[in-house]
C-alpha cells in the first residue's frame, strides 16, 4: 500500500511557506504530517494530506512547483526499538531509504514512519512478509 506525498518547492524568501499553508487552508485541506528538507539555497516541503489531488491542483494553480510521489507509511510501536525493527527489515531486503520522517498518530501509542524508498514495492512486500502494518490511505486518513 502506497500513499501520495506532495513535494513542494520552497524558495528561500519570506512568506513563501505561509502562502502554501494558506492555499491549503483556503481549500479546507488538513495537513496530516509534513517534513521540511532545506539547504542554504532552497527547501522542499513534503506533506501528506487526505485530499492530495485537490491539494496538488490548487497549489499548482497558485503557481507553486508540486510533485506527487508515492511513499510508504508504516505503523510502528511508539517505544524504544520500534524504528529499529523496521529499518532492519528494509536493510535485509536490500532496499535503500531515500529519506524518512515520523509522526505520532491520533494520540495513540502507535507512530507512523513515512519512507521514500528507491524500490517502494520491494520494501512494502518485505515489510508485509514480516507482518508490519503498511498503512493504506483509508487507515491513515480514517
Amino acid at each position: 500500500m502506497k500513499i501520495q506525498q506532495l513535494a513542494i518547492f520552497l524558495q528561500n524568501k519570506p512568506g513563501h511557506l505561509s502562502g502554501i499553508c494558506k492555499t491549503l487552508a483556503d481549500n479546507d485541506i488538513n495537513i496530516v504530517t509534513l517534513s521540511l528538507a532545506d539547504t542554504q539555497q532552497f527547501g522542499i516541503l513534503r506533506v501528506i494530506v487526505k485530499e492530495w489531488e485537490l491539494a496538488a491542483q490548487k497549489l499548482e494553480e497558485a503557481g507553486y512547483l508540486v510533485q506527487l510521489r508515492e511513499v510508504v507509511a508504516v505503523e510502528v510501536d511508539d517505544e524504544p526499538g520500534g524504528m529499529h525493527k523496521i529499518v532492519e527489515i528494509i536493510g535485509a531486503a536490500n532496499v535503500n531509504i531515500e529519506y524518512v520522517y515520523a509522526f505520532t498518530f491520533h494520540k495513540s501509542s502507535r507512530a507512523v514512519l513515512v519512507f521514500r524508498f528507491d524500490d517502494p514495492d520491494k520494501a512494502a512486500d518485505a515489510l508485509r512478509e514480516a507482518n508490519i502494518n503498511v498503512l493504506a490511505e483509508i487507515e491513515l486518513f480514517g
Binding site: 518547492f9 524558495q11 532552497f42 522542499i44 512547483l65 510533485q67
Partner: protein, 444 residues
C-alpha cells in the same frame, strides 16, 4: 541568375529586393556617390559634424573613394545626448514629419527625426527585410512591437503595410489577447522581441493553445541580443522559423539588417547603411572577417544623418557571398553589446554567454536573471533560473545535481564561480518589450 528569381512564381524574392542583388561594383559606386553627397549635405547643415571635421582637418572634397570614410570623425550616443533634442537635425522642422525616441532607462532619451523621404526609405528597408524572411501579400503579421516613440512598432507597421501584408497592429502586451488573435485570425508571422515571444510560448501553454498547430510560421525578432540556443528553443517550442532583425534607433530603427532563409548572419542594407568594423580602442578600421565595433553611416538619411556612428555592438563583417544570392554583405549576429558587458573580478562576461550555457543544459531553461553584487569587496555573480516542472524532485540531491550542472556549464564558459539560485516557473519578471535580465548592484 537573378532574373530567374523574379520569373519564378514560387520564388520568395520580390522586385522590392532588387537592390539586395545589385552587382558589387555598382553597389560600391552607388555607396561612394551617396557618401559624398551625404558628407557635403551634413557638413553644410550640422554644426557638430562641421566642427569635428575641422578639428581633424577633413573637408567633404577629401572623400574620393569609399575607404576615405575612415578620415571622418566618429560619433557616439554621448553626442546625441549632448545635442538633445534637436542639435543634430539637418533639415528645418517644416521638412520633419516624425520623431522617434529610444527607450533609454537613464536620463534623457535619444531623439531621432525623419523626413517624408526618410520614412519612405525606412519602409523600403523593412519591406526588403520581410521579403527576405519569405513573407509576401497573403501573410498576416501580428506586430507585437510597442507602438509609440519606440521605432519597432510603427517601423514594422509601415514596411509590412507597404509590402502588402495584412497587419494586425496589436502592439506589445495583453498577452492573452495576443494568443486569441493569433489563433482566431490565423496569423502567419509575428514581430516582437525574442523575450516577449518566450513569454507568449508559456502563456499559450497556460491557455492550452499549441502554437505548433497554428498557421504561425515566421517570427521576426529583434531589439535585443539573443543566442542561437534561444533560437533553437523558440523554433522547437513553436514550430516557426525565427529571423533576427537588426536595427537601432540612432540609425533608423529595425530594418538595418535581416537574416535571410540561410540564417548565416544578417544582411545589411548597405546601399542605405554603410557598415564598418573598427577596433573599439584605436578606432582603426578592421578588415572584413575580424571582430570589432560595428559602425554605421546612414547614406541616404536627411533629417538626421549619422556619420560613422558607433553602435557599441560587437560583430564581424562576413565577406563571403551568401548562398541566398544576395550581394549585400552580412554581419555576424550580435551576441554582445559592449554596453552589456559586465566586468566581474576583472573578467569580461556577456549575458549571452550565460544564456547559451543555460540552454545547453538538458531541459532548457530560457528564463533567467543575472545579479551582480559586491560582498567583502569581492564581486559576486548570481544567476537565478526558473527550472522546468519536470525537473523538480522531492529529493534534495536531485535538485542539487541540477544546480551543479547549471553552475558547471556557466563556469566552463565564463571561467568564474557562480551562485545558481533555482526559482519557480513564472516567478521571474517577464518582459513585454526589451528584456532586462541584468541587475548590477555594485554601484549603488
Amino acid at each position: 541568375m537573378n532574373a530567374n528569381y523574379w520569373n519564378d512564381q514560387n520564388s520568395p524574392v520580390m522586385p522590392i529586393s532588387a537592390p539586395d542583388f545589385m552587382p558589387l561594383n555598382h553597389l560600391q559606386q552607388l555607396q561612394l556617390y551617396r557618401l559624398q553627397q551625404l558628407v557635403k549635405f551634413t557638413y553644410e547643415r550640422v554644426e557638430l559634424f562641421r566642427d569635428r571635421c575641422k578639428e581633424s582637418g577633413v573637408k567633404p572634397e577629401h572623400i574620393k573613394k569609399l575607404e576615405d570614410i575612415s578620415l571622418l570623425p566618429t560619433f557616439t550616443k554621448t553626442d546625441l545626448r549632448n545635442t538633445y533634442p534637436f542639435g543634430l537635425f539637418a533639415t528645418p522642422m517644416s521638412e520633419i514629419v516624425r520623431f522617434h525616441a529610444s527607450s533609454g532607462t537613464t536620463g534623457k532619451p535619444i531623439v531621432v527625426a525623419y523626413t517624408q523621404n526618410d520614412l519612405r526609405l525606412w519602409s523600403e528597408c523593412i519591406q526588403r527585410a520581410l521579403a527576405a524572411c519569405g513573407l509576401s501579400s497573403g501573410d498576416i503579421i501580428q506586430n507585437a512591437y510597442g507602438y509609440g516613440l519606440f521605432t519597432g512598432g510603427l517601423g514594422l507597421h509601415q514596411g509590412a503595410t507597404d509590402l502588402g501584408l495584412t497587419v494586425v497592429p496589436v502592439s506589445g502586451g495583453n498577452t492573452e489577447r495576443q494568443i486569441m488573435l493569433m489563433r482566431d485570425f490565423g496569423t502567419t508571422a509575428i514581430s516582437c522581441t525574442p523575450s516577449y515571444f518566450l513569454h507568449l510560448i508559456e502563456a499559450a501553454k497556460a491557455q492550452n493553445v499549441d502554437l505548433r498547430e497554428l498557421p504561425l510560421r515566421a517570427g521576426i525578432f529583434g531589439a535585443e541580443p539573443w543566442t542561437d540556443e534561444m533560437r533553437r528553443h523558440i523554433e522547437m517550442e513553436s514550430d516557426i522559423e525565427a529571423f533576427d532583425i537588426y536595427g537601432l534607433t540612432e540609425i533608423c530603427g529595425p530594418g538595418v539588417g535581416i537574416e535571410c532563409c540561410k540564417h548565416e548572419g544578417l544582411h545589411i542594407f548597405e546601399d542605405h547603411f554603410y557598415p564598418e568594423i573598427l577596433d573599439p580602442d584605436t578606432l582603426e578600421p578592421l578588415p572584413d572577417g575580424e571582430e570589432g565595433e560595428l559602425v554605421f553611416t546612414t547614406l541616404t538619411k536627411q533629417a538626421m544623418p549619422m556619420i560613422r556612428y558607433r553602435t557599441r555592438d560587437l560583430s564581424v563583417i562576413l565577406p563571403e557571398p551568401c548562398s541566398c544570392g544576395r550581394h549585400i554583405r552580412r554581419i555576424q549576429r550580435i551576441h554582445a553589446r559592449t554596453d552589456d558587458m559586465l566586468i566581474i573580478r576583472g573578467i569580461n562576461v556577456f549575458p549571452s554567454q550565460i544564456e547559451a550555457s543555460l540552454l545547453s543544459v538538458s531541459g532548457a531553461m530560457p528564463h533567467y536573471a543575472i545579479i551582480v553584487s559586491r560582498e567583502n569587496n569581492l564581486d559576486k555573480l548570481e544567476v537565478q533560473v526558473e527550472f522546468p516542472r519536470e525537473k523538480f524532485s522531492d529529493k534534495i540531491s536531485e535538485i542539487e545535481k541540477l544546480r551543479g550542472q547549471i553552475g558547471d556549464a556557466i563556469q566552463r564558459t565564463i571561467n568564474l564561480a557562480v551562485t545558481v539560485t533555482l526559482a519557480e516557473p513564472n516567478s521571474l519578471p517577464r518582459s513585454e518589450g526589451k528584456a532586462r535580465r541584468v541587475t548590477d548592484l555594485r554601484n549603488k
